[in-house]
Subunit: 337 residues, 4 copies
């Protein structure tokens, strides 16, 4: 950590700061320039609060050299993490995972039919929204508890693990038979929820916030992992930009960046990122080529009549064709990395 | 609501759509052009789900003409809302409210001393963080329940109502003696929390999300109001932009925009918006001139040692001077609107 | 075009507006609702100035249904455009183009060596910066006119067409022997330059601005094409977002969006988009999979000592390997579209 | 300047780097930590190219401690600059300047009438667009050379200096009798134009780019000043954000930030920033309160029929009232800083 001091830093305050830093068991090296003085801290600085330092009168700016996350950091865990979902399904390293299903669970028939279809095409996890975050209180909010029950029926009847979104920690008891708990983009910094999920033993699919940086995503993963639950799967689902032709902008460079910075698996959601069914295929293929570990895709057997987000859903038939292409491409690309 | 149809819209699907729209009790006017056909919907369209329409194969785009919020909408409530905080304090219309206090509650002495100071300077509400949203799990997370107790002590001893942030709806029972519940920027779209707050009878200070639009802020207010709680105070606290010289960018044009669109009071938070103590004064004065109903300002009796966000706090002495200037300016500006 | 009128629209002004619209030879359909009145314009509205309409007192908002670009619009030119560069090189439709070379031209030996290397690896166009846009006046500004001469020498000696950036229309005479003129991101809306380039007969590589939308990029292409020069190649090179791990965010969804909206070829620049040499490969492969028509890649024979942007350059050896992988992938992907 | 080295930095390369740095006459202090090694450079580092350093294999990141601008830097020029426009008009320090006029010059009568009106209300500079940057090639592009002639007639007849925008350096000869040359937001990084303007002796009104940071604005000012022309007036005119209720987001915190970082005067353009006539007044008053040195406001004698941007123009009558309020407020606020 580098602390740049103000030009006119008060001597007594500086001594006070140095004493405090010494008490944190970091070594201090001081560089005195004509325009400014700099302190270099040597040692483990991950527990030093950067904002506290920035708040000091005598400090102009602080630059962290070490990343502020540890458990999610590849430097300390060089090997790729593989997340075991149970039911013989694993995510990460050397396998490409297809997660598919409707935006919203609507009925037993709907979810079971889609589950069968996407499983037949190669999906190994079924997605489906039960609790739906909607910007309007007057929009359909999902089947909620009933939706989770329907998902569980599909899971049992079709034999496929399930992932669905939690919106508040009070809903946690309903997720006992859910295989992966999804934290949506709007909850990426719901820290109380993240802490609660850190204390259970279940895979978490953590979606990047609409305007979150990659480091913020990793800090949210760290919140979960710091509690003891290291089964975190990261998901890039588009960030907010000025572009309006797509709903969000899929940041595919997040894949190689995350692959460098963390050992956690990285999944891409082309459906929410683009919001357009016709864009799902090109962005899925691009995600494979960029080195992602999997895709989460919205599939609906009747897109025009889906209760929400139908616009971004593809049909089981389109998914089947795409799944084949993804497999072909993954095998071709695997040789290149 | 205007529905633009695709050029090659299927006749049967179009008839199906029209039947459905008729069932919603809106009138349809059709315009057939050479390039595209347009349906104009006449009547109350607030309960028609725009995303459902956009999902239809035959629809190219939809444009809402009416705002999607009703209870927060000035069109249906022309008069400014005044929110009664109790203890003789009101917010909105014809009065300028100063809310002040430390970023974090640290000790009884700290919070009571500041409470006395800011009250003496003219603040009518005390702020103080008990539950603190921090991006790192390793940073100080606030005194939590204990912090709320200390705030309540200050409230009783000094005689000033209090506002503090809720981070999860499980914390709600702790807020019984809190006068205004703050919903932080990261929770602006925590819809389960908003719904729960809609069912209580207590003023809510709703902060704009870091990348939220003004309409999204109003939709979140609508979530609370739709539940029955109309005591919502809006707060602009800076949005995320590419500028790095300030922590966020204070969007002061939000004041006149909100004044036009809603009857709810609008408060400005210059401390979080800028993140720099020296910017609090110019941005406070600008907020007054722009027509805001109040300010929420971080004040700390020992900024360099505040446990968090000290960088953006001003001292009680600075606050006292600023409060006087704000009063002078408010009186001068009041004549101009 | 849809014009939403204010609720209290003045009758005389409305009649005036209708007369004016009739004079523009568009038909008007009026829909009168309880909350607002809407005018639908039928016919060719591309010459109606939307801002003029929005400026009218009686108008609340205007929605354009037709795209404001014509020459760049795929609706009016369904077939993919192929741009002939001369020297037997074409860009677009059914072929994948590799453009490669150093960020800055530094010496005859440097540019000729790289030209030979990248040509041997399969590049068909040589890039190299002569005029360099730099944010600091104290940074190296390129070899300028001399840099263009060196590029021309490489072109002749090695036998490869060249592309280089123009920064001001006064430099145009220097570009006589340049095969493709590049308009950089910062000049995407330098309208005087675009107009001048519309009057010459030479391919233009138009880069998307750092915060430009896809429609703005197409409007800038339209500026060139409206002057008569239809040889425009579009280039996505990363947009500004809040992410700091990469220099910019490569918007690969721009590829399928542009493929739908325009007939012009689309090239991806992974070097400037990411700013990191190690990201060039994954983003290049992703661009191929997304359906791009080519890549423009920075290659330097001595990256650590390049005069600028060395950080984002790869070596000729890395380029050679990448070129092979790109070819393999392109053939695999071609079957999938 | 702080250089953070990679953990595995090659010894020979490091020695090479140190030699090079020594040749630049900066002193090096080295801090060796367990995770990384840091070099602190002491001395004048403004001529060291940060991108060159970042490009080195052994370098992880570089942090500049000194600002990269010198002539615009308040550290080296503590006193506020006052820009003399001639005709007895000065901008900056202790005076508040009103610049007003139509978006576009339309006719002699129009521009002279407005000139008379705004002068009578207290404006000391007349603005008016002759060359107009428009996103569509099919939109009105301004009266161009003829527009400048009409402005000059207004200048002579009414006795008021004029400011108008240059769009390309080839237009420079037309600006001989223009008192302030405006560089528009889209040209803020048209470096060739900035260099040319650095070689003339005439005040330049430099507008901040739509997505430019404050430091980038200052670097563009530095381009002009480095050439010898130190008469630069900065203008904040709104930045691009996700908010759609206003055309752009006026960043008023730029005022105190710029006041701290530079000695140049700062002018606010509320008309372009908001794009809405009704927002001009609140944002003008807020700009005064924030400490700006002046305003540039669009005034039109017939807003509904202005050829462009009428939506954001106010009438001479509204301007007259606003000018009075601005004066009153400026006097009240002056005492507070």
């Amino acid at each position: 950590m580098i602390i740049v001091l103000r030009k006119d830093a008060d001597k007594a305050q500086l001594d006070h700061l140095k004493d405090w830093l010494n008490s944190k068991e970091v070594e201090i090296e001081q560089i005195t320039g004509s325009q400014s003085t700099v302190l270099g801290l040597v040692g483990d600085t991950s527990h030093i609060d950067i904002e506290l330092l920035e708040a000091l009168d005598i400090v102009e700016s602080v630059k962290r050299i070490q990343e502020p996350y540890k458990k999610a950091n590849r430097k300390f865990h060089p090997a790729d993490s593989v997340i075991d979902i149970g039911h013989g399904v694993k995510i990460g390293k050397g396998r490409f995972t297809l997660i598919a299903g409707p935006c919203s669970v609507e009925s037993e028939k709907q979810i079971c039919d889609i589950a069968r279809d996407v499983k037949a095409s190669g999906a190994t996890v079924l997605r489906g929204g039960a609790f739906k975050p909607r910007t309007s209180p007057y929009s359909f909010q999902g089947l909620r508890a009933n939706g989770i029950e329907l998902l569980q029926e599909a899971k049992e009847k079709v034999g496929i693990p399930i992932v669905t979104e939690i919106m508040d920690l009070s809903q946690l008891p309903l997720f006992d038979n859910v295989d992966i708990i999804q934290v949506g983009a709007r909850n990426m910094q719901n820290f109380e929820l993240l802490k609660a999920l850190g204390k259970i033993d279940k895979p978490i699919l953590l979606k990047r916030g609409l305007s979150a940086t990659i480091q913020e995503l990793l800090m949210s993963a760290e919140y979960i992992m710091a509690g003891g639950n290291e089964k975190v799967i990261l998901c890039e689902r588009g960030i907010r930009t000025f572009e309006t032709a797509t709903r969000n902008t899929l940041d595919l460079s997040a894949v190689p960046v995350l692959k460098e910075k963390t050992h956690l698996p990285v999944i891409i959601d082309p459906s929410h990122a683009t919001g357009i069914a016709a864009m799902v295929k090109p962005m899925s293929l691009a995600a494979v080529a960029a080195g992602a570990d999997g895709l989460i895709i919205e599939v609906h057997n009747d897109p025009p009549h889906a209760l929400c987000d139908g616009q971004q859903s593809i049909t089981p038939k389109m998914f089947d064709e795409l799944a084949g292409q993804v497999g072909t491409l993954y095998n071709a690309v695997k040789e290149m990395y």
